[in-house]
Assembly symmetry: C2
Homo-oligomer: 317 residues x 2
């Protein structure tokens, strides 16, 4: 148990990320009480059933009243509307943050509504799974993962540090950068990977000569890896692409340019060009494993998971 960082925490939105924060904050004793608000009544009811908070309200303004920290976890396109709704109820000295995968546009949407005397510290935990909704969250989601804070000019350093302490206590490593740089980094490490995963799954589904059932049956050759991230929440990802347009188009342009070079190498049988690229990319995988951002187990350890699951099934009464 750590010293509580906040008396009252308000969570607006209680999907994969919001519910993981609720679970982690509770599990590690980081807050006094948790108020939860979310737009859809059935999601709020589910959060209550799961016992994720202490107070539940359909009205985000009611949830944030008296809160020391407010974390908005909604699709980024809804950030501005939420900020507008909660603004009048915010306590002076409170910290308002978010978890959006886009930062520049979220700052543009939310900052104008943040009242004088309230600290706005945008954040992005680089963590998640392909599952969504309040049932998908778990307290360990942020452990060993980075949380990027993008304080805006004028943000008090003490507020940034307090929020950093909260994320660190949930197991995150914390880094600070500008919203613009964040959006460029995430465009290549997250947004473009999702876009091309969605794209290839779509291409495969549209083929006439190869049936969808063949695509599914023989997916272990590589395709199945892409379907995992192409199963991520569609609303969240639509908003990411709409709200990080410039950085995504910039990185996508480079990706396509490079792909044309490869296409040409295949067409003209330039084996050396192919080999050089394929040999070079191995080193990056090694570095990712070395810094603890992925498992070294072959196939992400799927074999281990299958074994553990089979043993658990066998041991069940």
């Amino acid at each position: 148990m750590t010293e509580p960082v906040f008396g009252k925490l308000a969570l607006i939105g209680i999907g994969l990320i919001g519910s993981s924060i609720a679970r982690a904050a509770r599990a590690y004793g980081l807050v006094g009480e948790i108020a939860i608000s979310t737009r859809r009544p059935e999601t709020l009811a589910r959060a209550r059933e799961l016992g994720l908070g202490d107070l539940y309200s359909a009205d985000p303004a009611e949830a944030v009243r008296g809160a020391d920290c407010v974390i908005v976890s909604v699709p980024v396109g809804a950030s501005g509307a939420v900020a507008e709704a909660i603004a009048p109820a915010l306590k002076p000295g409170a910290i308002v943050s978010d978890v959006g995968s886009v930062k520049g546009d979220v700052v543009k949407q939310m900052a104008p509504f943040i009242p004088e005397g309230v600290h706005f510290v945008p954040a992005h935990p680089v963590a998640g799974t392909e599952h969504s909704g309040p049932d998908a969250g778990f307290a360990e989601l942020f452990r060993g993962r980075w949380c990027i804070l993008t304080p805006v000019p004028g943000t008090e350093e003490a507020a940034t540090e307090r929020l950093a302490r909260f994320w660190a206590a949930m197991g995150s490593k914390v880094e600070t950068m500008t919203p613009e740089h964040h959006d460029m980094v995430l465009a290549i490490t997250s947004h473009i990977p999702h876009l091309i995963a969605y794209n290839i799954v779509g291409t495969a589904a549209d083929l006439e000569k190869v049936t969808e059932s063949e695509v599914i049956k023989f997916s272990a050759g590589g395709f199945r890896d892409f379907t995992r991230i192409a199963a991520s929440d569609p609303t969240m990802w639509r908003d990411v692409f709409l709200h990080n347009k410039d950085a995504v188009l910039e990185m996508l342009g480079r990706f396509i340019e490079d792909l044309f070079v490869l296409q040409r190498a295949i067409r003209y049988a330039d084996g050396d060009a192919l080999y050089d690229l394929f040999a070079r990319t191995r080193a990056i995988r090694r570095s990712i494993i070395d810094v603890g951002q992925d498992t070294a187990a072959p196939d992400f350890g799927r074999q281990v998971v299958e074994k553990v699951t089979a043993e658990a099934d066998a041991a069940a009464p």
Copy 2:
């Protein structure tokens, strides 16, 4: 233990796939003896150290002498040369097969050298990991994975059935199709996924505004999934693209076309087009899990792997 399917099995090439066949054939009692030949002396020495076979030879012709089944597991570009080298030593009635990820071109390379009275049954186990070499193999690699046989006109059915029995005994599900159809199916389920994974890792490595260490640190946002398959054996994959050129270029053309449609949707903020695609692709993931071709555990079960590893470390003396 099953009835042995072959008296003597010869394996030409002893990397991830060859060594997994050796281990599985031994573990399940499917062969009387195993002869191993491979080009590089240090790999042959390593196979001997690992005890993968009963006989070891630098000369593939010597290894195949008297073998009832020969399985060639080399980069597909080397298939023709291996077929030429072993042809004079093949026993009448023997089965010659391979494990190449490309079938049309391999048939073209190997078939002319297969003597009258020897059965040529090309095969492709759709299984693998990002690791390579004789140490990377394991007996369970083929379990639950498909093995595609592409017998050529004139192949005796009894030979195809015998090889199918061998693969089934190693845990594979077996399917038969033409080499041409195989190459089309695998282009989309395996070759294009690898190509775009290699490509995005290359694009990321070349950026000026985002450092390589940032790409590595924040890779959990999606990028790390791609680095796994981009860590696959470069020689093997160079040969796949050179020898399945037509199908790869055809599928790559479609992928790029679809990507331009997405690029345009982002540029013109067409949220509905993005949402429609992103919602559609979820169903394919579900089907892949339903048919047992991937784990349902979030993030491929990486959390489970980390937990099991941590527990094992804690339990170690």
